[in-house]
C-alpha cells in the first residue's frame, strides 16, 4: 500500500491513469478527516491531496474564491474572515465527531461530502455554492465544469453531481465557490421546556414568519446539560433555538418580534452575537453528542414536520439520544454501541422509521465492521440504483476511485 501525494493536477492525472492501467483502486483522500465516513473502501493505494493546496483566486467584490482541492477549509475561512466574508452554507467540521481533531478538513473533501450547517435552511448546502471545478475522472481524463460566475446554465451542472459523490466519480483538483458577506449581528431566541413535538411546531411557526430565520434547532433535555452556554446548560430541560442574522437594528427587531409571537409557547430568552456564534458552531459540528464517543451516529434528513415522529418511532423502547436542526428536518441521532445483531435490528428500525415520510438516513459514525455490514447510505429503489451505476460507469468504468464507498458496485 502506497500513499501518492500529488502536488499538481498533472500528477493527479498521472496517478489515476496509472491506477486505471493497473486496475488498482485508489482511496481518494483530501486531508483524511472523513475517511471513517461511508462504507469501507477496498483500495490498493491512497491518493492524498494535501499537497495540492492554496487559494488561487479571491475577489471579494465578485463574491468568488478558487482554490486547489486540498486547501484546508480553515485557511479559506480565515482568508474570508479577513474580508468579513464566509462560506454561507456553514460547513460542518466532522473531524472531532469522527475521532480526529478540529479544523483539519480540505475544501475538496467538504464539497465531495456536500457538507452544510444550520444555515442550510436559508443559504443552502455546499452544492448550492459550488460554481466550478477542474477534475480528473476515474477514466483518467481531465475535465472542467461550471465556471466562476454565479449564474451559469451552460451544459449540465456537473458540480451538483460531484458535490456529495464522495470521490467516487472524479478527483477534484481545483474548485470555485461562491462566498457571501458575514452578517453584522446575530441573535438567538431560546424557548424553554418544549417536548419534541411542540418544538417542531414552534420552529415551524418561526420559519413560516417573515423574519428570515437562519437557524432553528431543538435540544431535548438529555443534551442541554453539557452545553458551554450557561443559558442552555442551566435550563434544566429542553431548549429550542431560533436564529436571526443581519444589521443590528434588524436583528433586534426580529428577535423581539419572534419572542412576542412565540410567547404563548412559554418562557423565552435571547442570546447575542458571541453566545449565538458559540451555540450554532456547537450544533453545526454535532458537539451536543460528543460526550458519547462510543455511540453509533446517524444523520437523518426528513420533511421538517415529520422529525419528531421519526425519532419517536426509532427511539421506541430503546436508548436513543438526538437533537434536531433545520427546523426539525435534520436529526442527529446517537444509538448505543452494540454487537452486530442488535446493530442490525437498530439499523432496520432507522430505515423503517422513514418509510412513510421519505428522506434519507446516513450512518455517519460506526465501527468499520458494522459499516461493512449494512448500507451506510439510504438504500435506493432499483431504478435509481441502476441509474447510479450507469452514472458511475460514465466517469469511472473501471471502478478505480473509492470503489464501494457509497454502495456495493459503485
Amino acid at each position: 500500500m502506497a500513499t501518492l501525494k500529488p502536488e499538481t493536477p498533472e500528477q493527479v492525472l498521472e496517478a489515476v491513469t496509472w491506477a486505471v492501467a493497473e486496475e488498482t483502486p485508489l482511496e481518494v483522500i483530501g486531508r483524511g478527516t472523513k475517511r471513517a465516513l461511508g462504507r469501507p473502501v477496498q483500495a490498493g493505494n491512497n491518493l492524498e491531496l494535501s499537497g495540492l493546496s492554496g487559494i488561487t483566486l479571491y475577489e471579494p467584490e465578485e463574491l468568488v474564491l478558487s482554490a486547489r482541492a486540498g486547501t484546508p477549509v480553515a485557511e479559506i475561512e480565515a482568508t474570508l474572515a479577513a474580508k468579513n466574508q464566509m462560506l454561507a452554507f456553514e460547513p460542518a467540521d466532522l473531524g472531532p465527531l469522527l475521532g480526529g481533531e478540529a479544523g483539519q478538513g480540505s475544501i475538496g473533501g467538504m464539497l465531495a461530502c456536500n457538507l452544510a450547517g444550520p444555515r442550510r435552511i436559508k443559504a443552502g448546502a455546499a452544492r448550492d455554492h459550488f460554481l466550478g471545478a477542474h477534475a480528473v475522472a476515474g477514466r483518467g481524463e481531465v475535465f472542467k465544469t461550471g465556471g466562476r460566475v454565479v449564474k451559469n446554465v451552460t451544459g449540465y451542472d456537473l458540480c451538483k453531481l460531484l458535490a456529495g459523490s464522495y470521490g467516487t466519480l472524479a478527483v477534484l483538483t481545483d474548485v470555485t465557490v461562491k462566498v457571501l458577506p458575514v452578517a453584522e449581528k446575530t441573535r438567538t431566541v431560546l424557548l424553554y421546556g418544549l417536548d419534541d413535538a411542540a418544538a417542531m411546531k414552534a420552529m415551524s411557526r418561526a420559519l413560516q414568519s417573515s423574519h428570515e430565520v437562519s437557524g432553528a434547532a431543538h435540544l431535548p433535555a438529555a443534551l442541554t446539560g453539557g452545553s458551554p452556554i450557561s443559558y442552555i446548560a442551566e435550563a434544566g430541560g429542553a431548549v429550542t433555538a431560533i436564529r436571526v442574522e443581519g444589521p443590528g437594528p434588524s436583528v433586534e427587531h426580529r428577535a423581539a418580534a419572534l419572542r412576542r409571537e412565540l410567547a404563548d409557547v412559554g418562557e423565552t430568552e435571547e442570546l447575542h452575537s458571541t453566545n449565538s456564534a458559540k451555540l450554532w458552531a456547537e450544533l453545526r459540528d454535532v458537539r451536543p453528542l460528543s460526550a458519547h464517543p462510543e455511540r453509533v451516529i446517524w444523520k437523518i434528513s426528513v420533511p421538517p414536520a415529520s422529525g419528531a415522529q421519526v425519532v419517536a418511532r426509532i427511539a421506541h423502547g430503546q436508548d436513543a439520544l438526538c437533537f434536531y436542526d433545520w427546523g426539525g428536518g435534520l436529526i442527529w441521532l446517537a444509538l448505543p454501541a452494540s454487537d452486530a445483531l442488535a446493530f442490525a435490528a437498530r439499523h432496520a428500525a432507522v430505515r423503517a422509521a422513514l418509510k412513510d415520510c421519505g428522506g434519507h438516513a446516513t450512518l455517519i459514525r460506526a465501527p468499520e465492521d458494522l459499516r461493512a455490514q449494512v448500507p451506510v447510505f439510504q438504500p435506493q429503489d432499483p431504478g435509481t440504483a441502476a441509474l447510479t451505476k450507469r452514472i458511475k460507469d460514465s466517469f469511472d468504468p473501471r471502478r478505480v476511485l473509492n470503489p464501494g464507498r457509497m454502495a456495493a458496485g459503485v
Binding site: E14, T17, E141, K151, G155, D157, S210, F377, T384, S394
Partner: protein, 495 residues
C-alpha cells in the same frame, strides 16, 4: 443551424406511430393536422421553425412512461415542451420527432405550509405556484420575466432565474423533489420534501438539463414567506464605469439586495418612451436596487445604498416611498424587452454572464461590435450576478440582417467567455448556443457531459440536436484509452 437529418424510415412509419400513441393517450391527445401542429413549430426563439412529426399531449405520468417506452423501443425521437417560451430553441421540434406537450399537467397537487413546500405538476405556470400560496403570505422566489406563461417543468429544465435570484437563488436552489420519467419508461422519484440527498445529486443534475435527461412529471418547490416590505432605489450615473463601481461597492459593503438591475442608455430611452416610468434620460447607466425584508432593515439599507451611490457619482437618486412608486421604478425594466420590440422590427436577446468588474470593458467592446455589424444594441443587466442581456436590434425582412445579428450575438458570447464568464446565465444552450459550446469547453469536457447523457439516454432520443455541437455515439464515448503502467512520480514522497 443544422439539426440532425430526419430519419426517413421513421417518417415512413408516421401513421403507425400515431396509432400506437393514440392507444396510449386516447381522445384528443394525439395531433397530426398541420394547422394544429403549427402551434408547436417554434418557441421563444422564433427565428427557428420546424413542424414536429406528431404532437402528443398526455395527462398522466403513466401515459408519459408508456409513450417514452414506446419511442425508446422504436427509435423515435422525443422533444418535451412546456409553454414554449424558451429563448434558446430548447423546445424546437424535430421533423422526425414526437413533440411531448406537458400542458395538461396543470394541477397543484399539495400545498404544505408545515414543510413550506408545494407539489405541482410540471405544466403549472411559474406564477401559478405563487398564486396558489399568496393567500397565506407565501411566494415562490425564482421569478423569470416570463412568469405568467412559462411552466415549472420548463423552469426546471432551464434552471431559470429572475431578478430576485441574487438573494434567493435560481430554480435549482429552490427545488426539493421531482418525479421524472427516463426514456426507457422508468419512473423515478428524486428528493421529496426533505433537504439534500445522500446519494448522487440527481435533482441538481436534472435541473438545467434542458429536457435531455428525462421528462419531469411532478415538481416539489420550496415556498417562502413574502418579505415584510420592499423598497427600490433608482440611481442614474454619467458613466457605466461609475454604475459598475457602485454595484461592487454595495456588495463590498456586505449588502445583498433582493434585486439589482442595470440598463444602458438605449435601453433606458426605449423603456421610458414605452412606459413613462420617469427615468432620467441624461444618464449613461441606470441602476435599480431593491432592498427587501423587515422594515427597519430595509430603511437602514436604503440609506446606505443611497450614500454609496452618492460617493460613486450618482446624478439621479430616488427612493420609492410607496408600493406604487416601487412598481413604477420597475415598470420600465420589466417592459424593457417589449419596449425594444417597439423601436425595432425584431430583436435578438442574448444571455451571457461575466465577472461584474468586466462590465465597462464588455460594454465598450460591444459598442465597437455594434458599429462593425451596423446594428444597434441595448443592454439590460442583472448587475448583482453579472448576467448580461444584450438586445440586438435587427429587421428580419432586410436580407442578411438576421445572419449579422446572429454573428454579432456569437461575438458577444465569445467575449463573455474570454473575460472569464459563460455562454448562458439562464436561457440555456438549446440549439442557439449549441455550436458555441466549444468556445467554453474542450472536447474532453464535452465528452464527459455526453457520457452523463448516455447514462440516461443511450440512444440519444431525448431532445437530440440541442446542447451538444457533435453527437457522439455512446459506445464510442465509453471506449477507454489506457496508457502507462509505471508507478507515477516515483520521486515524490509517499509513505
Amino acid at each position: 443551424m443544422r439539426m440532425p437529418e430526419p430519419d426517413q424510415a421513421i417518417l415512413a412509419r408516421r401513421t403507425e406511430i400515431a396509432r400506437a400513441l393514440g392507444a396510449i393517450v386516447p381522445g384528443e391527445g394525439v395531433i397530426l393536422e398541420e394547422d394544429e401542429l403549427r402551434a408547436y413549430e417554434s418557441d421563444g426563439l422564433t427565428a427557428y421553425r420546424q413542424l414536429p412529426m406528431i404532437a402528443v399531449l398526455p395527462e398522466t405520468t403513466d401515459q408519459v412512461s408508456r409513450i417514452l417506452k414506446y419511442c425508446h423501443e422504436n427509435g423515435v425521437k422525443v422533444v418535451p415542451r412546456g409553454a414554449g417560451t424558451s429563448l434558446s430553441g430548447g423546445a424546437l421540434p424535430l421533423a422526425d420527432g414526437v413533440l411531448l406537450g406537458l400542458g395538461k399537467f396543470s394541477r397543484i397537487l399539495d400545498i404544505d405550509f408545515e414543510n413550506r413546500c408545494v407539489v405541482v405538476q410540471p405544466g403549472v405556470t411559474n406564477l401559478g405556484v405563487t398564486k396558489a400560496v399568496e393567500h397565506a403570505g407565501f411566494y415562490y422566489a425564482p421569478d423569470p420575466s416570463s412568469q405568467i406563461a412559462c411552466t415549472i417543468g420548463g423552469n426546471v429544465a432551464e434552471n431559470s432565474g429572475g431578478v430576485h435570484c441574487l438573494k434567493y437563488g435560481l430554480t435549482t436552489n429552490n427545488l426539493l423533489g421531482l418525479e421524472v420519467v427516463l426514456i426507457d419508461g422508468t419512473i423515478l422519484r428524486v428528493g421529496g420534501k426533505h433537504l439534500d440527498s445522500d446519494a448522487y445529486d440527481l435533482l441538481g443534475l436534472l435541473t438545467g438539463s434542458e429536457g435531455l435527461l428525462g421528462v419531469v412529471t411532478e415538481v416539489t418547490v420550496r415556498v417562502l414567506k413574502t418579505p415584510e416590505t420592499a423598497r427600490a432605489v433608482l440611481l442614474g450615473f454619467p458613466t457605466s464605469e461609475q454604475s459598475g463601481d457602485c454595484v461592487a461597492a454595495i456588495i463590498g459593503a456586505g449588502i445583498v439586495p433582493g434585486g439589482m438591475e442595470m440598463m444602458d442608455k438605449p435601453a433606458i430611452h426605449a423603456a421610458e418612451a414605452f412606459v413613462n416610468a420617469g427615468y432620467p434620460l441624461n444618464v449613461e447607466a441606470l441602476l435599480i436596487v431593491e432592498l427587501d425584508g423587515p422594515q427597519v432593515e430595509v430603511d437602514l439599507l436604503v440609506a446606505k445604498v443611497t450614500e454609496i451611490a452618492a460617493a460613486h457619482g450618482a446624478v439621479t437618486s430616488r427612493v420609492s416611498n410607496s408600493e406604487e412608486e416601487r412598481l413604477v421604478f420597475w415598470a420600465g425594466r420589466k417592459a424593457a424587452f417589449p419596449a425594444i420590440g417597439r423601436i425595432s422590427p425584431d430583436y435578438y436577446c442574448m444571455d451571457g454572464t461575466i465577472p461584474r468588474h468586466k462590465l465597462p470593458l464588455v460594454l465598450s467592446r460591444m459598442r465597437e461590435m455594434s458599429e462593425k455589424f451596423d446594428l444597434r444594441v441595448a443592454n439590460v443587466f442583472h448587475a448583482g450576478d453579472g448576467n448580461l442581456h444584450p438586445l440586438i436590434l435587427y429587421d428580419a425582412n432586410e436580407p442578411g440582417e438576421l445572419e449579422r445579428a446572429e454573428e454579432f450575438g456569437a461575438e458577444i458570447l465569445k467575449l463573455c467567455v474570454e473575460v472569464g464568464g459563460v455562454l448562458t446565465g439562464e436561457h440555456g444552450v438549446g440549439v442557439e448556443k449549441r455550436d458555441l459550446m466549444g468556445v467554453m469547453f474542450s472536447e474532453a469536457d464535452l465528452r464527459q457531459q455526453q457520457r452523463v447523457k448516455c447514462a440516461f439516454d443511450p440512444d440519444s432520443l431525448l431532445n437530440p440536436g440541442k446542447m451538444f455541437p457533435v453527437l457522439h455515439r455512446c459506445a464510442e464515448l465509453g471506449r477507454m484509452h489506457i496508457h502507462g503502467g509505471k508507478m507515477p512520480f516515483p520521486d515524490l514522497p509517499r509513505f
